[in-house]
Amino acid sequence: MNGTGTGTAAPSETELGELRAAVRNFLAAKSDEHAVRTAMGSERGHDEKVWRQMADQLGLQALTVPAEHGGDGLGLVELGVVLEEMGEALLPSPFLSTVVLAATAVVASGDVAAAERLLPAIAAGTLTATLAVPDHAGSWDVGAGLRVTATGGRTGAVLDGIAPIVLDGATADVVLVVADGPDGPALHVIDGDAPGLARTPLRTLDPTRRMARLDLDGVHAEPVGDPASLTAVLDRVLDVATTALAAEQVGGARACLAASARYATERMQFGRPIGTFQAVKHKCADMYTRVQVADAAAREAARAVDGIEGAPAAGIAAAVAHSVCSEAFMAVAAENIQVHGGIGFTWEHPAHLYYRRAKASQLLFGGPAVYHERLLARVGV
């Protein structure tokens, strides 16, 4: 163990169990398959009532927002529990964009004014936000140039260019944009309805996660934080975001495993449950093994990102989790369809929704070629 944890104590299993039960009950009531499909087909892609209830009844948006900005100041270990449940239920929601990407970027930037302006509203569930990193490769490679440029001074910049794929970009109330400025790449914030901003919703592989293209033509922006620390900020956001995503992926994979195990027990062919055939049984055991290993990777990454005593270095554990959980979810989602046979290939069966979510999640921050190299970079190879 290359322990770098600063000695934060881990939350107790009892507390985590209570949090899990609360989120699970909430999602069972608010985000069953019918609700997911309704949200999927809706204009904004998520149910705004559920978003508000998440804040009012459970305070989920506030969980990881620092206490001085109106949140609970908890960590990824707790947030991971929430995201795992959301992933299992396939909840369509701007949670990942708002609470994970945008809020983490604001906190990491150290910009107190921006934090005071945005974080209390995020915590209260009254503001949605997202982060656009419009690099050329789609892998947060800001050093190689950006497709949005910033001109102007410290008090107000003007942004021009294109951000081709932005998570929840069409609905976010505010958008944090990394743009190439006079001091190199820098973080800015723009309003979602700013003049000069055109937002085009895109067709998406995963209908439960919306994406938009942003065209910026002389959009007024406020700088956020110091450009000198941008690389560190983005590294932190990436560690947090991939760790959060890993938890969500584990939840999705767990749902696929449960569906397969259930179906293998119920479905009869040749006069016996298909789960008695080893080709099916062993598939389920393989799925279980992948889920267990992915689960361990996601949890360890959360502990690392939270700086819990004895945890490995955050950058390494997050990269391990991103790779392992991406591949596990994809494999398990594909096998789930196979175990179900023809019914698994229908639109009406939820298996394809997980398959879509798995592939879209795997590619969200660049995909296998990128995350493998990132992992090697983090371990110094």
Partner: protein
């Protein structure tokens, strides 16, 4: 609780400093290009070298035992400390920092599996007689379970034990018996009542390996050496007080052994193979072979490392559960599957990098030496319950999938033999 653990660590550290040399360098990594060019898993040494190593193992185990580190979790009555499994793991972690003889010959089977079984099922005077001797390093124990026609289907053992006065007379053949050539005792599963269904007519006996009628014949493994053996038992007399559990109740005894086996096999984090497949060592391997900038090779390295790290995280999680007082669940089987998989993929990865210098020994450091690991990994998918059997267990016991329709669990064993359905 923490202060008690701190104290344990301090005394362990003191003991190790006084009795062993700490490995040089920060990590316990072999330096590339330096030292013995071997990546050993199973032994490939000639018998006399093997015997010398066994003697070293025994001596180190005795030193541990005499200083209170020979059986950390065991009862005081048998020389143990009555501490938790966590203490045991902590001690192992500390000891890994030192250069000490490998005690696998004693611990993997005897201390890890047979000891706990004796503790759970033997009579008190048998425990008195064997347990301290085992944990002191005097008695090596082997597992006389598998037979030519009873492997995965272990409950089909045919070795007979017939009662004769105060003794049992044992006749039959065991196979794949690791460390039998060094062992003083063996735990033997015997058929005592063929008129009962196969799980119900088995009795477990503790056999003195030096008794007349016990013959151990080494079997050469594909890896070259002979770690496992055939054991022939001909009219071997075993006193009834050496029985573990009830007459015909040996299956329960066997389950104790098997449960401990799964716990032992998954957790092997140290040793030459683990060191050779560690990231720094593999990085040096790529560097030495000019492959550090090759995209395809890098991808495979990253995949390999990610799986290794995640498996390690899984083991950490199991340890944290232990610490919180929860018994480890099915993680052990998952770790075992992953361990075999990681080592197998690692060996093939290294082979690919080394290329043709793996097929012929050119004498170049760090090339042909990978053959030892490559030729050992197939066993990891077989021993201690095959990969397929592990998957059956995970699917049926954890996921609750239905069992296969079974034709042989209820009929008397004798009838299965006749109809040829057992042990197939």
């Amino acid at each position: 609780m923490p202060s008690e653990m701190d104290e344990f660590v301090a005394t362990a550290r003191e003991f190790l400093d006084a009795n062993a040399t700490r490995r040089s360098g920060s990590a316990d990594l072999p330096e590339w290009g330096v030292g013995e060019d071997r990546i050993t898993y199973f032994s490939t040494d000639p018998p006399e070298v093997d015997a010398a190593k066994v003697a070293e193992s025994r001596a180190w185990q005795r030193t541990r035992y005499e200083n209170g580190f020979g059986w950390v979790t065991g009862p005081r009555a048998y020389g143990g400390r009555e501490l938790s499994t966590l203490h045991d793991l902590v001690y192992d972690g500390l000891e890994a920092e030192y250069d000490v003889p490998d005690t696998g010959v004693l611990s993997l089977i005897g201390l890890g599996m047979i000891g706990p079984t004796i503790l759970a099922h033997a009579r008190d005077h048998i425990k008195d007689r064997y347990l301290p001797a085992m944990y002191r390093g005097d008695a090596i124990a082997c597992q006389l379970f598998s037979e030519p026609s009873a492997g995965s289907d272990l409950a089909s053992v045919e070795t007979r034990a017939v009662r004769d006065g105060d003794d049992w007379v044992v006749d039959g053949q065991k196979v794949w018996t690791s460390v039998a050539q060094h062992a003083q005792i063996g735990l033997c599963l015997c058929r005592t009542n063929p008129d009962l269904p196969k799980h119900k007519g088995i009795t477990a006996l503790l056999v003195d390996m030096s008794a007349p009628g016990v013959e151990v014949r080494p079997l050469r493994q594909m890896s070259g050496g002979a770690d496992f053996n055939e054991v022939f038992l001909t009219g071997v007399r075993v006193p009834d007080d050496h029985r573990l559990g009830e007459v015909d109740g040996g299956w329960r005894v066997a389950l104790t052994t098997l449960m401990n086996e799964r716990a032992t096999v998954g957790g092997e984090g140290a040793g030459p193979a683990a060191r050779a497949l560690s990231l720094p060592f593999l990085t040096e391997l790529l560097r030495a072979n000019g492959r550090l900038d090759d995209g395809a090779t890098r991808r495979r390295l990253a995949e390999l490392y990610a799986d290794q790290a995640a498996t390690e995280y899984l083991n950490h999680q199991a340890i944290r559960k232990l610490r919180a007082g929860t018994q480890p669940g099915p993680e052990a089987s998952v770790s075992k599957l992953m361990y075999a998989r990681n080592l197998t993929r690692g060996a093939h990865f290294a082979a690919e990098v080394v290329g043709p210098r793996l097929i012929a020994d050119t004498g170049e450091w760090g090339t042909y030496s990978w053959t030892e690991l490559l030729l050992s990994t197939p066993a990891l998918r077989i021993l201690g319950g095959t990969e397929e059997i592990m998957k059956n267990i995970l699917a049926e016991r954890v996921l609750g999938l239905p069992k296969e329709p079974s034709i042989d669990s209820r009929s008397p064993f004798r009838e299965l033999r006749r109809s040829g359905t057992a042990g197939s």
